[in-house]
Amino acid sequence: MIRIAAVGDVHVDKDVLGRYRPALEELPDRADALLIAGDLTRHGTVEEARCFATEFGGLGVPVVVVLGNHDHQSDLQDAVTGTLTDAGITVLEGSATVLEINGHRLGIAGSKGFGGGFAGACASNFGEREMKNFVGTTEEISARLGEALRSVECDALVALTHYAPVPETLIGEPLEIYPFLGCYQLGQAIDSAPTALALHGHAHHGSERGRTPGGVPVRNVAHPVIKQAYNVYQLLSETVDTELLPA
């Protein structure tokens, strides 16, 4: 059995320091790893990344993250990644990592992802150079996520993105902005590997649960959606115990 905690869109800055910490101190009693689905900061500055590392680092369990669009706002994503990595946090972007947990190998492949829309209402790689760049970025990022997912040998495989891979977890958001919240290509990437669970954020007004066309469970773990410090998901269950009170 593996238990993973997950949240996204925590948008840490100085004013948030200490808010999550009481719940995070209890996390090692409840989960084996923490995955964070992007938008770690407000503006993507190095100072905010340090605040994030202070709040979410040093937990005694592995912390694996992807960046979100907010983490790119200052064009300092490489420096933000470096700051997080120096703090012992694993940052994925078109890449994967494997954690040894309770005798099992948990594979996590991650990418920020990008927009583009979903079947029947998606952007095409056609027309102006700006439009082709937009959809080209969607295709490139999704292809790299698929390659990362298929590269992992593990007992349970999790896909971690910021943007949504399916429209079901966007229900509650205005239909007009779906193309800015995710794309079907991420769902295709997730379905190209034996993925057990897909986690994303970004859609603050979205819904919690969905499935990819191939049947992979999708969970929107944006903080305003789950309304608690993190959710906990159990994989490779031998027995089911839905109570999560610490021992």
Partner: protein, 82 residues
């Protein structure tokens, strides 16, 4: 004075692009005599800054703030994925 048709767009862009706010999850709804703000943010300071900036940029608009602070307690349940 702001064109009323564009008001929601201008407020939405202010909340996203202002360097002291950067919020994309705030909803804006019209009522007869006021604009109602909804959604959740990570701190009371952020909620107060949103109201301060809108009032400063659109002093003729009456706003009602229903923005909440997202709770950050530990979970008590686990979901089995199968």
């Amino acid at each position: 004075m702001t064109n009323q048709i564009d008001l929601e767009a201008e407020i939405q862009r202010l909340l996203t692009e202002h360097d002291r706010i950067a919020e994309q999850g705030i909803t804006i709804q019209r009522r007869e005599h006021a604009i109602v703000l909804g959604g959740e943010v990570e701190s009371a300071q952020r909620r107060d800054e949103i109201c301060r900036q809108i009032t400063g940029h659109f002093p003729e608009i009456e706003i009602t703030c229903d923005i909440g602070i997202t709770r950050a307690q530990a979970p008590i349940e686990v979901e089995e994925i199968s």
